[in-house]
Amino acid sequence: MRRRVVITGMGAITPVGHSVKAMMDAQLAGTSGVGPITHFDASKFPTTFASQVKDFELARYVAGAERWANAGLNSRFAAAAAQQALADAGLLDDGKIDRSRFGVYLGSGEGVQDFHNMIWQIAQTYRPDKREIDYPAFMAGALEVFHPGREAEQELHTTAAHLASHFHLDGPNFTCLTACAASSQAIGEAVDMIRQGEADLMLAGGAHSMIHPFGVTGFNLLTALSTRNSEPQRASRPFDLHRDGFVLGEGAGMLVLEDFDSARRRGATIYAEITGYGTTADAFRVTDSHEEGRGAIACIKQALVDSGLSVEQIDYINAHGTSTQVNDQVETLAIKRVFGEQAYKIPISSSKSMLGHLIAAAGVVELITCVETLHRGWLPPTINYETPDPECDLDYVPNQARQHKVRHALSNSFGFGGQNISLIVSKV
């Protein structure tokens, strides 16, 4: 029989709260984290707003914050969320468990490029007469102005390395980046590593911030972001007929995943068991999801089979629900294909209506939301749901939190480029 994997610690730094409790309270109150972008002057960008983490100071969360002096917000958020999760699990101290059996698996994003210096150097060293950049001049200038420490911290492996080093997590160490599915995929594979005995504990989750000039530029160019600049807090409106794109968020979420027997032995608080994991690819287009939800359907089915649960046993779905035209329509279709008539009876909500889209960190924060529903018996709403879309005709828990008993909850994450991940958490 395979090992059971449970959640024994959680941490979250989000636009609507800097702890799991604060985040969930805010969601149940229907609070939006969205506002004008203040990280940089975005006033003339096609999109001028985002869902930013507010008043965050790493030193309030971790001792030795100097380690992250050159790091981007992604790694700082990760450190604070990891500290919370490990403290929550009672595993900050070395003594209690074998640290070589405690690994890390993050789905986390890149640091922030030095936008100003890079663009300035390009402009200065471009030779219009030759229609080319003078590369020796560019490189000489860049060598002068780029900060070595900050450049190093952009690299994708640094976030997980800092966590392993700071918190003495000496076991397997993985990082993936599969766009919006990344932290869910990290959790799914980390669960499998514990199931197969490669580790007894894993710190799994993700962190990301793309609220910087290149990030907003990239998503604006793809016309993926909402441009409802006149009403930022009403911009993220998953499943609503008038949705016009997603709202960029940022933050981090971390879980301590643990072998069930190990958790019981040390008397840990068990928040939930991860009972189902599905992982597929659309293999369709780089820019769109498959029109008929092929990959998403296979993914949700795989998670159900993995959990041994029937469609009737799923009490709640936390949707990927990005508030883009295509995602919400295809996700609705996929849920209907998998759940049949039952689809109309399962409450579904999108945390992104309040938090925005945390990209690589979205999945973990939404899974934490699912875990909270198991204990609180309350579902977060999909806010800004005003005009039903005939293509999206399920129960999206519109605008008001709802009391509802949850034993098993499903969380979907679908990445740009076609990676699909579904996870199921169950009350223990």
Partner: protein
């Protein structure tokens, strides 16, 4: 490992030494290095002006006509990846029409991909003309942004190698992109092996791709001060475990492996090149080799073999002063001085996220052909590296197992054990 046996049945490689394995192999046996002065752009004034570049690469040669348009959406390392995947399928004699797409996965190692600077020139010109070192963000937002091509960001996302390959070959199974720097593609291989063992797929393309030989990445690498500065003799620059080493040389490329359950390989009549019998991963917190040793021991335990059973260790061997020393100390904890240690980076530099699968392929070839190339540029073993480094001359293979390791400079370690 679980009861299912996992094997490698195809290799496709785009490397600075050549784009087919025979060429690469004979160049290595002849002791040829691909490291030389950089030609693709003018490096005047940089502290390091050499690397192992791939000449004359054209992605169009590896993609069906109907898909060539999509090459415009792929930065150089992604094109390498797509090409290597094509070569791997050809080498593995894979009939795609007989594969179950839902049981066909992709695992890729990839890193940050540098923007091609010319694409940003127009936007830069309209917005960076006032205060030194500052961009007028209002001008950028209003006028600059629209001068960049709409799909710009997609050309550089690290999950795109795996995504494009999945689209080109209809791989609807698990699809992951491991972004753990120079350890990435070995970790991707470990993960694919685990997914096959849990019966989450039957067939995988596993690879890694990287190119840091461009003005932006090269500046960043120079800032990190990990590159050799031996500009007067580039071919001798990368010297794994040698007492006179002074840093890394950069390489570029991609290597993709066909990895599948033995049952699946047998059913399709594939030639088995090697079996993956163990893997391990660990964190080397103090950068003293203890974590690397744990990763190796985990892999050996899973394989059910002792260090003495190894024909060789295929090292990471950056040629870097600090890293080679702690790597050697870690390997010494596992194999002492009993097992020859080979390192490949003298031939084609550090291929980053592509280095794991590329270098592992050399052990596959070595075990099959009965000979291992030597460690190029290794002349005098550094006393701080207490291992038996295989010298420059090729060496006959005597045992059926090889241990491949890889790691990041921050201590994230991976190990794979192969069996002939």
């Amino acid at each position: 490992m679980a009861s299912r046996r996992i094997v490698i049945t195809g290799i496709g490689a785009i490397t600075p030494l050549g784009n087919d394995l025979d060429t690469v192999w004979s160049a290595m046996l002849a002791g040829k290095s691909a490291v030389r002065p950089i030609r693709s752009f003018d490096t005047t004034g940089l502290p390091t002006r050499f690397a192992a570049e791939i000449d004359g690469f054209d992605g169009k040669n590896y993609v069906e006509k109907s898909h060539r348009k999509s090459l415009r959406m792929m930065a150089r390392p992604i094109q390498f990846a797509v090409a290597a995947a094509h070569l791997a399928l050809v080498h593995g004699q894979v009939d795609k029409s007989k594969l179950d797409p839902t049981r066909f996965g992709i695992e890729f190692g990839a890193g940050l991909i540098a923007s091609e600077l010319p694409e940003l020139v127009d936007a830069a010109q309209v917005s960076a003309n006032c205060q030194p070192g500052r961009v007028d963000l209002a001008a950028w937002g209003e006028k600059g942004l629209g001068l960049i091509q709409p799909l710009w960001m997609l050309k550089y996302l690290p999950n795109m190698p795996a995504c494009h390959i999945s689209i080109l070959h209809d791989a609807q199974g698990p699809n992951n992109s491991i972004t753990e720097s120079d350890a990435a593609s070995l970790l991707a291989l470990a993960e694919a092996t685990r997914i096959l063992a849990r019966d989450g797929a039957d067939f995988f393309l596993v690879g890694g791709c990287e190119s840091k030989i461009n003005p932006l990445s090269l500046v960043r690498q120079c800032l990190f001060e990990e590159l050799s500065k031996r500009n007067d003799d580039p071919a001798k620059a990368c010297r794994p475990f040698d007492v006179a080493r002074d840093g890394m040389a950069l390489g570029e490329g991609a290597t993709v492996l066909v990895v599948e359950g033995l049952d699946h390989a047998q059913k399709r009549g594939a030639q088995v090149l090697a079996e993956i019998v163990g893997y391990g991963s660990a964190f080397d917190r103090n950068l003293d080799g203890a974590g690397l040793a744990r990763a190796c021991e985990t892999a050996l335990n899973m394989a059910g073999i002792a260090a003495e059973d190894l024909d060789h260790v295929n090292a990471h061997g950056y040629g870097a002063i600090k890293e080679d020393a702690w790597e050697a100390q870690g390997l010494a904890r596992v194999v002492g001085t009993k097992v020859p240690v080979f390192a490949a980076k003298g031939y084609f530099g550090n291929m980053g996220a592509a280095s794991g699968t590329t270098e592992l392929s050399l052990s596959i070839l070595g075990l099959r052909q009965g000979v291992m190339p030597g460690t190029l540029n290794h002349e005098t073993t550094d006393p701080n590296c207490p291992i038996q480094v295989q010298p420059v001359a090729p060496r006959p293979v005597s045992k059926p197992y090889a241990l491949k390791v890889g790691f990041t400079h921050m201590g994230q370690c991976s190990a794979i054990v192969l069996k002939k």
